[in-house]
Amino acid sequence: MAFPQPRPQAPQLPQHLLRTIDCQQGAVRAVRFNVDGNYLLSCGSDKSLKLWTVSRGTLLKTYSGHGYEVLDADGSYDNSQLCSCSSDKTVILWDVATGQVTRKLRGHAGKVNCVQFNEEATVILSGSIDGTVRCWDTRSRRFEPIQVLDEARDSISSLKVAQHELLTGSVDGRVRRYDLRMGQLHVDFIDSPITCVCFSQDGQCTLSSSLDSAVRLLDKSTGEMLGEYKGHKMKGYKLDCCLSSKDTHVLSCSEDGHVYCWDLVEGSLSLKLPVGKAVVQSLSFHPSETRLLTAMEGRVQVWGSEPEETMDDPTQT
């Protein structure tokens, strides 16, 4: 006798605000989950990078060393290292436990907008306003990048790394996908400056949001548009977009203070999270659960699918 299959759950949306963390970092430029989703990183305009727990919202460590605003950060797969980039044109590799600067990578000609580790944290890739993506080697002690990708004609606003692919979005309106295994570069023309790009979990599609207030889902192999999501407002700011952990929904920040969540297949708006009044700057989805982080002004909000009753902790900052 076989047990009946568990009923497939309807895809859940992170509609409940679980926690608000006041980061005290000036404005939070980016908020990121770490690789397992238990910690979050907040990049502040006061040149600091802070590490918090998600469950309780406690501040674990502050990393100081940048000379200017921190614009993006990423954690390695083993949670031992962090990388962050800043308007001071540098990329810093941090040791998580000690908080020391392991490497300070200089080379970009302008502020570095986005940074990410590769899967094994052997390479840091950073994209900058000077139009180049630099691949830095964390293993060696070289100061020069392994490779500089300068095909873009304008600022690189966002980049994402998958197993053997690198996706970059640029203000020149093009999404470039560098395939290391095939040795090819695919350029998709979107015509409007791109603010954020990301891969889908299944690796078949790419999502890109642009300044014409549209988020587009493109097929990776052919470049065809599979879906277009509109309704939010993205006209002048570099805001984030992402896919949910199971690729069921497309989420995007908006300048009207909401986070828009569309059904990926249908394209209809499923959820409109009222975050606040100001621009929602950044967002990040949990790698496996239905949990969302958003950043607006100086605070970070944690959203989940179910409201938690045991959350109000007096020790939260």
Binding site: I129, G131, F143, L149, E151, D154, V171, L180, G223, V279
Partner: protein
């Protein structure tokens, strides 16, 4: 200094000193040459100072003659490496090897200048003492003799590889085995325990061959020439196949062509038969050597009669010629080709070779002139101010009028291709043409469809199309219908002679800059592309597949296909139209770090190999130059010509990319004319609209809070 190295503490001024080995402070006279100190605490000599030699002469002790050498007055510095009398240890003449001593040679050369015969040291070089170097002496003492090799002694005499020069052996040499026969055969080497000295090494001559003769060439063998084996026979140089000649030049031929007429003027001796050939003329071909012979057989090709008969004719011809034949030349076999000369045309009786220029050009009469040109011509004045508007000179006729003048009949047959068609087809064509006259729709798909439908019936005779507007056959701005409409308006106005045609045709809704661009474009389009209602264009037909990098859009942005892409994006037709694929070479280390096999293992190129990049880019100069040069090196410019839709290895239109510097400037210019953008420098959250702006978009940059 590396960037991250700690800085050394600066040395204070009082410690920036140099002391010599005795602890004396060195004073640097002259620019840091290492310096010579001015003696011992600024005195000369040593601690004791320089004491002059005393002069004592008495009855008992006479004064000694002090022959003071210059070395007596020198101190250590002078004897050191940089001093005036450096002492160094060198090998003496008897111990030095045969190596040339350059200083000695230089000295000798200098000396030679002052010799009796300046510059000539021949005598000394001829009469040089026989010196053997110390190495040779040592070897001799150890038992070496001239001609032997150096090394451990060998048992058997090594076998020679090439016993004689006449046969060439290819392949490997015979092994030194087979000793029994050789030893038995050679009676000289009887006992077995005798060792021999190794064979001497023949020195290889490394002088380069400077001659132009090529491989395998060896000149005259002087041995044979002067004495040699061939001395008994006479060496016939002029016969290429002569045996003796071959031997002299070292040829290995055994079989030479026998027979035939060999001797020429040279080499005809008293005892030889061929005296008739004495006066034969020489030719350079006789001096060619040929390896292995040229023709198979004897070159006679079966001719069995004596050769004299074939050659005799030539000579007779030459001899019979009455004029003078230049030396080295002979009469040709075939006569030269005759040139056909055409007589000049016959002039009519009343023809006067005087030409008068017609000053005024009738604009309206001329066909094939663009409207702008027509306008220009109309407004200009020729040299002659006579206005002859209605006069029809001989030159203003068209073919029909000329036909009537000449009194010819009109050509029979259909005047238009339309008459050849069946009536149904004619109907169909008319319908299609009428539908094509409608304003074209926006989508490119329907455009291509109706272009395909547009028939080749455009090449109709003058009877058919006279009523049709010019726009039906020629549209420079097909893709932008409103622009096309404005252009047509402009053309019409031009035709009417409207002076403000350009200004009136522009769209007032556009910005000033766009208007000026349109203005230029219209003018250029009108000049370059003529209207189609001329008879010339009626002979041409539209292409079925209109290429997109079309010559129609005159002054467009150099990246013509961006417009296509933008149009595609507007229509949401992503995919083939918006995607480009390039061959991209990742760095080897990058592949290694990503755990991915290198897709191009042999390639030394990193980046896009097939895309030509601008060598000068603004970003090249924007980089941090701490340890290295520009991190964005110019890629190799290797732009192949491939079609745009070629997936693998395309060329991006990089060479048409505008120089970012000029884009910067034009962008800066735009910003001043357009609405003021609030660009503050405080930390902006926005997408920074950086130095290069996309042309059509306007972004406002806010700052948060």
């Amino acid at each position: 200094l590396q960037y991250n190295e700690p800085l050394k503490k600066p040395i204070p001024l009082h410690e920036q000193t140099v002391k010599d080995e005795k602890g004396r402070y060195k004073r640097f006279h002259g620019a840091f040459t290492g310096g010579f100190s001015a003696g011992y605490f600024n005195t000369v000599g040593s601690k004791e100072g320089w004491t002059p030699s005393t002069f004592v002469s008495s009855r008992q002790q006479k004064a000694e003659k002090h022959n003071a050498r210059p070395e007596d007055f020198m101190d250590e510095e002078d004897f050191s490496e940089h001093g005036i009398a450096p002492r160094e240890i060198t090998t003496s003449q008897e111990f030095s090897s045969g190596h040339r001593d350059e200083t000695r040679e230089k000295a000798r050369a200098v000396n030679a200048q002052a010799a009796l015969i300046p510059g000539d040291t021949l005598l000394e070089e001829l009469i040089a003492p026989a010196q053997s170097s110390i190495g040779v002496e040592l070897l001799r003492k150890m038992g070496w003799r001239e001609g032997q090799g150096v090394g451990p002694r060998v048992k058997r005499k090594p076998r020679r590889q090439q016993p004689d020069n006449s046969t060439k052996l290819y392949g490997c040499a015979m092994p030194p085995a087979g000793s029994e026969e050789s030893e038995v055969g050679e009676e000289e080497f009887a006992p077995e325990n005798v060792t021999f000295a190794p064979k001497d090494v023949t020195p290889v001559d490394f002088t380069p061959r400077l001659g132009l003769q090529g491989l395998g060439y060896s000149g005259l063998d002087p041995g044979l020439a002067l004495l040699g084996q061939g001395a008994s026979e006479h060496i016939n140089l002029f016969n290429p196949q002569s045996e003796t000649r071959g031997q002299l030049f070292g040829d290995k031929q055994k079989h030479t062509r026998r027979g035939g007429v060999a001797g020429q003027a040279f080499g005809v001796g008293a005892l030889e038969d061929d005296d008739e050939d004495i006066y034969h003329r020489d030719s350079m071909s006789r001096y060619d050597t040929v390896l292995g012979g040229e023709e198979p057989g004897d070159g006679l090709y079966g001719w069995t009669a004596p050769q004299q008969y074939t050659k005799r004719k030539d000579k007779n011809k030459d001899a019979l010629y009455l004029g003078k034949i230049l030396e080295g030349f002979t009469l040709a076999q075939k006569p030269a080709e005759e040139k056909t000369i055409f007589p000049p045309p016959i002039l009519p009786r009343d023809y006067r070779p005087v030409h008068h220029f017609r000053p005024v050009i009738q604009v309206s009469r001329l066909s094939g002139v663009s409207p702008a040109l027509a306008e220009a011509l109309k407004s200009s004045r020729g040299h002659m101010t006579k206005d002859e508007p209605q006069q029809e000179g001989r030159h203003q006729l068209d073919s029909g009028q000329r036909r009537t003048l000449l009194g010819e009949e009109t050509l029979q047959g259909p005047t238009s291709v339309m008459e050849l068609l069946r009536p149904e087809d004619r109907e169909r064509l008319q319908n299609i043409r009428n539908s094509s006259n409608l304003p074209p729709t926006k989508t490119t798909t329907s455009q291509t469809s109706h272009e395909a439908l547009r028939p080749a019936g455009m090449s109709a005779g003058p009877s058919a199309l006279s009523g049709v507007m010019s726009s039906s056959t020629f549209k420079p701005f097909e893709k932008n219908p409103s622009k096309q409409a404005r252009y047509e308006l402009y053309l019409n106005r031009l035709k009417q002679g409207d002076k403000d045609a350009l200004e009136q045709s522009l769209d007032l809704g556009m910005t000033e800059w766009e208007r000026s661009r349109e203005r230029e474009e219209f003018v250029r389009a009108s000049i370059l592309y003529r209207p189609s209602s001329s008879s010339l264009s009626s002979r041409f037909t539209r292409a079925k597949h209109q290429e997109d990098e079309d010559t129609v859009e005159v002054n467009r942005d150099q990246e013509g296909d961006v417009d296509d892409k933008q149009a595609a994006v507007k229509m949401k037709m992503f995919g083939k139209l918006t995607r480009e694929t390039f061959e991209w070479h990742p760095d080897k280390l990058l592949c290694k770090r990503f755990n991915v096999p290198d897709p191009y293992p042999g390639s030394g190129v990193v980046g896009l190999p097939k895309v030509k990049r601008d060598k000068f880019s603004v970003f090249n100069f924007l980089t941090m130059t701490e340890n290295r040069a520009t991190p964005a090196p110019p890629k190799p410019a290797e732009s192949g010509k491939k079609s745009r839709w070629d997936v693998s290895g395309q060329t991006e239109d990089e060479e048409e990319k505008k120089d970012p510097l000029s884009e910067l400037l034009s962008a800066a210019r735009n910003q001043t004319t357009e609405t003021k953008l609030d660009q503050t420098s405080s930390p902006a959250v926005s997408t920074s609209v950086s130095s290069v702006q996309p042309r059509d978009s306007k972004h406002e940059v806010h700052c948060q809070k």
